[in-house]
């Protein structure tokens, strides 16, 4: 459905905003309805596939296949509903923009590609969807393409994505060459029957597919595109870069999880550490950013690192339910945070620096309350949804089989503290405190089309912990449903399930919030740089990663082009072209010396030639 919407809008609707908006929202609504029906309609827990023949080249048979199992159904449900909310929000946010039709075409294309990834039955279809979301992301980040910053950001995003996809493609080829199939169900079956199929390449295959995740989910060291991607419109940031596309990487990891747990594969530990590193790095940077969208972008990076770390900390006996759980709750509250940020930005006339906002809490109550709910959920305060998902991640890290799990756990707790800290900083500076500028003073609550989606999203952000999402995911991996009961029992269950993890998580959140309030309550300027000195500078400048990459890129380019220039000048032009010319000319000149015009010299040479010939003939 979204594909049809995208096509129709592109062909007919680029000049008719009403039509474009209606089609796109209609498609999103249709998807939401269908996925809800699919969710409730089938017996839960059994995978169901359908496919149509498509590509058959030699031994490679790739049908256009879809797979409906608990993982994909649940994920598609979340994707559909969050997208619907954001589509509605976009109608209000993008009103009056000249590219309205183009925006919704891109949005519909994105929805189609994301669903393709989620519902893919084999790795090739998944890869197609993977690339398509990259394209949609490129189109939408660079939506306001007349701005050079936006054009650069979209290029950067696409290039880094492509880099990761290269690894993914290699991994895909490796998988196919070793197992002879790309269908996910068959892969699972073949690997269950013969775990040693990959031999020593098991780690390699897992890591190569993880490369795709590095690019798409912006893990270190390919993380630099996500903050720049904030140049796109805020609903785009909400949909693509908070809730769904970047989560596609984590989804992929869970999809091919059976690949990562093959005996002899060290992929999981490396994945866990990459995730932890990303989480820590991003959280530190986030504490010193002033642009509201950048703070949220680095927060997304950090949470993605959390999820990747959770996958890495899993194993066959403890499947990555925690990662998918956090993915689902994060989709809701991060989208809410971004949409709320969009509402705030609109209200203060497109000012994004938090130090130019202030006292918005009184002026924009609905935005403020929903934003606060989402922020607290992100920090992991009970009984909001974020608490449960974060707790499950911390517990799975602590109880994992990974050797360095205590170090990982320490990093995770540190990130939780920082999360609480920077979110409190954001809320305190933007919503409380004095009015810092005139625009802040004139801010007024946004219209209903912007605020109703906020309220809609606030509901799952708050209550998703009680809806049994984790039991839905458990079905996918080991077919055992984890039963939960009422509200209080759930909270208690969190504590009894893993007391250390929960206590640490809660303590970290509270510590972060308290520290943030202490530093930033009623603060006029950011006092942290003076206290922390150089560390703050590093964080503010994003640890100079962008500069590092630009320098490396630039110097390699320079080197290569100098080498190519040298080859061109000296080898091709010098040796080959002029050399051939010169040597032929030399031979000609030498031969010319014999033509003196003197008859007797000619005769001498003639006689000498005859003598030589005679010698040769007589020798034989």
């Amino acid at each position: 459905m979204p594909l049809i919407s995208a096509a129709v809008i592109t062909l007919f609707g680029l000049r008719r905003p009403g039509l474009a908006g209606a089609l796109s929202v209609g498609a999103a609504a249709g998807v939401a309805v269908v996925s809800s029906l699919a969710y409730t309609g089938r017996p839960f827990g059994e995978p169901w596939q359908c496919s149509a023949g498509w590509l058959s080249v030699g031994e490679l048979i790739v049908p256009v296949g879809l797979r409906f199992d608990p993982l994909s159904l649940t994920m598609s449900l979340i994707v559909a509903w969050v997208s619907l909310v954001i589509h509605v929000y976009s109608i209000g946010y993008m009103r009056g923009d000249r590219g309205f039709g183009r925006y919704f075409a891109g949005l519909s294309l994105f929805l189609f590609s994301m669903l393709l990834i989620v519902l893919a039955g084999n790795l090739v279809v998944l890869f197609i969807g993977w690339e398509l979301v990259g394209v949609s992301s490129y189109l939408l980040i660079g939506f306001w393409y007349q701005r050079p910053a936006a054009a650069d950001a979209s290029k950067k995003a696409f290039l880094l994505n492509r880099l990761g996809d290269f690894g993914f493609l290699l991994g895909l080829l490796l998988v196919w060459s070793k197992t002879g199939t790309v269908d996910i169900g068959e892969l699972e079956g073949r690997l269950a029957a013969d775990p040693g199929l990959f031999g020593s390449l098991a780690t390699g295959a897992g890591l190569l597919i993880f490369c795709g995740v590095l690019g798409k989910s912006a893990q270190f060291p390919l993380h630099v595109w996500l903050p720049d991607a904030m140049e796109g419109p805020t609903p785009v940031s909400a949909l693509i870069h908070a809730a769904t596309m970047v989560a596609a990487g984590v989804y992929l990891l869970c999809r091919v999880f059976f690949l990562l747990v093959l005996p002899g594969s060290a992929a999981l530990e490396l994945i866990a550490w990459v995730g932890a590193l990303t989480a820590l790095l991003a959280a530190v940077i986030a504490t010193q950013q002033d642009d509201i969208k950048r703070i949220l972008a680095y927060s997304t990076l950090s949470q993605l690192g959390y999820m990747v770390m959770a996958v890495g900390a899993s194993s066959v006996s403890r499947p990555p339910v925690a990662a998918m759980y956090h993915l689902s709750t994060h989709a809701c509250f991060k989208a809410l945070l971004f949409l709320g940020a969009g509402s705030v930005i609109c209200a203060v006339h497109h000012e994004q620096n938090i130090w130019r906002m202030g006292a918005l809490g009184k002026k924009m109550p609905v935005t403020f309350v929903t934003f606060l709910i989402a922020a607290l959920a992100l920090a992991g305060v009970p009984p909001l949804s974020g608490f449960f998902s974060k707790e499950s991640i911390l517990a799975s890290v602590l109880e994992s089989n990974v050797g360095t799990r205590n170090a990982l756990f320490a990093v995770a707790v540190a990130v939780a503290v920082l999360t609480g800290f920077y979110m409190t900083r954001l809320v305190a500076v933007a919503f409380f405190g004095p009015e810092r500028t005139r625009e802040a003073g004139q801010a007024r609550e946004s219209g209903m089309i912007l605020t109703i989606p906020l309220v809609i999203l606030a509901v799952p952000s708050a209550f998703a912990g009680f809806w049994g999402i984790d039991s839905a995911y458990s079905n996918q991996f080991n077919g055992v449903a984890v039963e939960h009961a009422g509200v209080v029992e759930r909270i208690a269950a969190a504590f009894t399930h893993s007391p250390v993890a929960t206590a640490c998580g809660l303590g970290a959140a509270i510590a972060g919030i308290v520290a943030g309030l202490a530093v930033y309550w009623n603060a006029a300027t950011d006092r942290l740089p003076e206290k922390l000195g150089p560390v703050a500078g590093l964080a503010r400048n994003r640890f100079y990663f962008d500069e590092l990459y630009a320098a490396v890129n630039g110097s390699t380019h320079e080197l290569l082009s100098r080498f190519a220039d040298g080859v061109d000048r000296w080898v091709i032009s010098g040796v080959l072209v002029r050399g051939v010319h010169g040597s032929i000319e030399l031979a000609g000149r030498l031969l010319r010396l014999t033509q003196t015009g003197n008859i007797q010299i000619h005769a001498v040479l003639l006689g000498a030639g005859v003598a030589v010939l005679l010698l040769i003939v007589l020798r034989h």
Partner: protein
């Protein structure tokens, strides 16, 4: 001492070499011409000697042909020399360098 084929061939060879030396080292056109004739004579001598010692007449017939060709060539060559002298040039090879590249 019996005079065999080899003696004739040696004489022929000597004549040829003397003629060759004259062609290469003398400057006067007429002398060069006479040496060319000498080389031809040497060739004819070798032919006749072979014919005598083989017992057939092939070599002698060929020698007759050589003589007739030599006569024609002399006619042409002398005409060339006369033409050169008519141009005012001396009959030597020093100034005949028109074929120099």
């Amino acid at each position: 001492m019996t005079v065999g084929l080899n003696h004739y061939l040696v004489v022929s060879g000597l004549l040829f070499c003397i003629g060759l030396g004259g062609v290469l080292f003398r400057r006067n056109l007429l002398v060069i011409y006479m040496c060319i004739e000498m080389m031809l004579a040497a060739g004819s001598l070798a032919l006749v000697a072979f014919s005598r010692f083989r017992g057939d007449l092939d070599g002698q017939v060929l020698a007759l042909l050589v003589i007739s060709v030599a006569a024609a060539e002399v006619a042409v060559g002398l005409a060339l020399i006369v033409a050169v002298c008519r141009h005012g040039l001396k009959p030597t090879v020093d100034e005949l360098t028109g074929m120099k590249l």
